[in-house]
Chain length 297, copies 2
């Protein structure tokens, strides 16, 4: 039986490892801060010293980390995955990071005889727990086919998008649309409230037609209920917008809407909202409007 | 039996009158250019000389016109509806115009003993033909109740939103969200294409989760197929964005995303795209990117 190593046991990593253990997958785990690893050790995972130690025990290594430098360091750094994994092993990075960094890491691993997939996810912590995540995968088709059963244990919709980096580019397209639909939701609710409409009823009406979006239907009500518990945090959306604007700079692609959202997300950070979930963008826009969106009784 | 007068027999008015005639509604019609009226005359509508003539024959008058000055003129101008309609009559304006103009017209009509509803629609020509339009209604609750059976003959989802102008404000909120979701769709597809992804597959992936919107799912494929047949025209969306920015100016409400979209829609007009349907916004953004979104075979 293959052993899967999992590095990064945060909000996303931990529920995924729990799912894999429940599916009888043999698992090695490593996390920078040891608390989460110990819990999963009690459920049957082997706790490792470092990334190299983990890679030596694993056929496939999954990473789920915050940002590009973390992934680079964990895979290619001292005592990293690349120093321990055997030839023919596969690394799957499920982090949302720069597509160009993913491509660069893949090239270095390929030179060592190791396969690499970038496979970022969407669907959040609840999706990770329920096994309903979407995986957007880039890399060699063979490596993808080998990992498909494993990915299907963790998620529901698994999409093969092309060569290394293409999974990450797909995730950036996803986050771009998320960001602009979120802005549309905020501005529509502010106009509704300022005009004297019932914002809750406005959501109901807009949801029936061409103005509808996942953001409006799912996050609009949270804005009205002042429910900003994380969820997907504003600081993470900000990081994604940074990755998108960096990629668009590289591609000479002007994306004005995305640029505007990137600036607004900097403002949310200045207002101390980074740890709140994305519907809290409304708080920044309310401050500019000197008007608080209200719910009619 | 009540007689309904209908003024404005364009892309929306004509199919609505056809529906009403099919439901055995007694109808008087008037249109500035006479062609459409003659066709409907053959189906049983009484063709009128002018708005006053029509109003004299009608218990309820419906207007469906391009912009605020048209509605003002047809209702309050010389030989207008207000000079012909009896006390106790009701005017329903289904145009998308300024909420403040709607409110002003209502006040003038009320002073003459005439009721007024603003009842703009969403759902387009196909919705008008199929009877699936959404109506967003503002005005007196009594007048609304009296007109509800008539509105239900023309549409599917009828929402009472509050006093005069509130139907129009709801429509502006709707168009605001439409505009930003459209921009999100365009920028996401451009990034996908420029990065080397299959844009069609990117739509499929994004439609499964938090990035999904009506605009992405319904208009994204039209962008890829180069299907810009009107539809809902860019020049009409531009008019709606002008109405929104005017209303937001009046309300001291900063709406940066809306402002950006208003500017981009001016650019579409300069490029001669006003008569094309809204997915043609992608053509303007492609020009800025010097890159055409492609479909992979």
């Amino acid at each position: 039986m293959t052993t899967v190593g999992f590095i990064g046991l945060g909000l996303m990593g931990k529920p995924l490892v729990t799912r894999l253990l429940a599916a009888q997958q043999r698992l090695a785990v490593f996390n920078r801060s040891p608390g989460a690893a110990e819990e999963l050790g009690e459920l049957g995972a082997v706790i490792c010293q470092d990334s190299k130690d983990l890679a030596e025990r694993s056929d496939i290594v999954i990473t789920m980390l915050p940002d590009s430098p973390d992934v680079k360091n964990v895979i290619l750094g001292r005592h990293g995955v690349s120093s321990g994994i055997r030839k023919g092993g596969i690394v799957i990075d499920c982090s949302t990071i720069s597509p160009l960094v993913e491509k660069g890491i893949a090239e270095q691993l390929n030179a060592l005889g190791i396969e690499m997939l970038d496979a970022p996810v969407s669907g959040g912590t609840t999706g990770a727990e329920a096994g309903t995540l979407t995986f957007m995968v880039g890399g060699g088709r063979d490596a993808y086919e080998k990992c498909l059963p494993l990915l299907k244990t963790m998620g529901k919709n698994i999409f093969y998008m092309g060569a290394n980096g293409m999974g990450s580019f797909t995730k950036l397209c996803n986050q771009l649309a998320v960001a602009l639909n979120l802005l549309g939701t905020c501005e529509a609710l502010l106009l509704a409230s300022k005009a004297g409409l019932d914002p809750q009823k406005t959501i109901e009406v807009l949801a029936t037609g061409a103005a509808s979006s996942w953001q409006l239907v799912n996050l609009g009500p949270k804005m009205l209920q002042r429910d900003f518990k994380p969820g997907f945090k504003l600081e993470h959306l900000r990081k994604d917008l940074r990755l998108i604007t960096e990629a668009c700079e590289e591609l000479n692609l002007p994306t004005m809407g995305t640029g505007l959202m990137h600036e607004l997300l900097k403002a949310t950070a200045n207002q101390g909202l980074g740890q709140k979930s994305t519907p809290a963008l409304i708080l920044t826009l309310e401050q500019l409007a000197n008007h608080e969106v209200h719910i009619r009784k």
